[in-house]
Amino acid sequence: MPVVLGFEGSANKIGVGVVRDGEVLANPRRTYVTPPGTGFLPGDTARHHRAVILDLLQEALTEAGLTSQDIDCIAYTKVSKILVPISVLLGPGMGAPLASVAVVARTVAQLWNKPLLGVNHCIGHIEMGRLITGATSPTVLYVSGGNTQVIAYSEHRYRIFGETIDIAVGNCLDRFARVLKISNDPSPGYNIEQMAKQGKKLVELPYTVKGMDVSFSGILSFIEDVAERMLSTGECTPEDLCFSLQETVFAMLVEITERAMAHCGSQEALIVGGVGCNVRLQEMMETMCQERGAQLFATDERFCIDNGAMIAQAGWEMFQAGHRTPLSESGITQRYRTDEVEVTWRD
């Protein structure tokens, strides 16, 4: 009955989770929220995480009712494929937050004399999705601020069937929220979703599905232009724009997921990642699944949004399968894709 402690902090959420045999014993989390009109930068995010991570660790143990002796393995996000267009001057990508969390994982592993396990962030999402929903072999739509991929499992790999060729759908939504100066609390996507519910007019936006893939940066530029123009003439409201953006990008996601499901003959779809919290996306995916006689699975915000327990869960699977990460090889990386991990814990 191994107990795994997991650390996650690759974007603006920092979480520490504890999992024992498929049971989530603790999953505290904090989010670094920036003012409306701004996004989170690596250095500031890292500083936020460093300030709270040791408290979160304590909270997790307390919530789980455990001590360090009870923990069998320390898992942490080693690999994140978060692509953030940040200039070289600020340091590439979100390495700073990731590294800050990694040093704590290493230190804790040494202090408590436990094995260390580096986990791929995306696989964390998938494994938690599978655990919570019970989906057996779904086509996975992984959508967040940093990632947009359609994934299916085959022969020990999570194969990427389709993905964004530029920015993630969540990134598109978040950056649009900045243009409208929508609040980032609790998250820009959530606030766009609420505003979209009040939208009445569908503004036509580019629809950019490219085969199995999608593209969002053109839509973003377009809607940023449109916003400026149409809002000043009163031709539409911000709510209309939120509604239109969601309808467009979500329809694109449904299309590429359906294409992958058709290709695999899949009867299950699973949505993971922060954008998966969006009820409208879930509705649209549900409609598509019903039309195909397939079943849709989704998790709630505790597990959709980045969290420590998902890393612990993936770590648990890997630990059971015998994976270990020696300290000397525990450096963080943003280079490995989801499909480069050997998934030895599934048939």
Binding site: G43, L54, V103, R324, L327, Q334
Partner: protein, 207 residues
Amino acid sequence: MQAPQDDAGAGGTGDRAEAQGGSRNPGDSGSAGSSEGKGSLSGPGHLSDPRGLEGRSGCDGQGAHGGPESQSGPAREGAVGEVAVATPQCEQAAHAPGSRGDAGPMARGSRSRLLEFTLIVPFQSPLEADMAHRSLAPDTQRQPGVVQKEFTVNGSTLTIRWTAEDPVLFRISINSFLDRLSLVVRNIQRLGLPASLKQGRGKGPES
């Protein structure tokens, strides 16, 4: 180099670092060179201006035992950072590239300027120094070759030596390292060394 009063602080002393306290985390006492990981490191007290380094230190390049004991607040358990900076333009510092032991890509004849920074961190025990080393060393540069970091553990002391050509990346690397170092120290303090490790039994997880 004693407490620099001008802006071009090479991270200076504990006093100075304390003064830059600002948004420091609780429990961080002044580590050599305050660090705001953001990357736009232009405030005073940051390792801001390499030109300032060379302007000031002239040829006392080697010696920078500028860290008075005041740096060791209760939270640090005596982990004090000292800063030694070698100025590339200076004659003495010309030894520094040589002391790396290789002719390497350093163009001595040209005007290309190699920036160097050495941080010496004494810990309370060899165990802690080693632990910190293993926690901090694995995250290598995303652009290998641009900024070089060399770690050495000698007894209870962890020494890190940076060399780089690009002053901005140099600065970012050092400052973000200091943030992580501070975190590791807090981490060790907060969780405490278990008795079994203190006695030197058990080497910890596989390295």
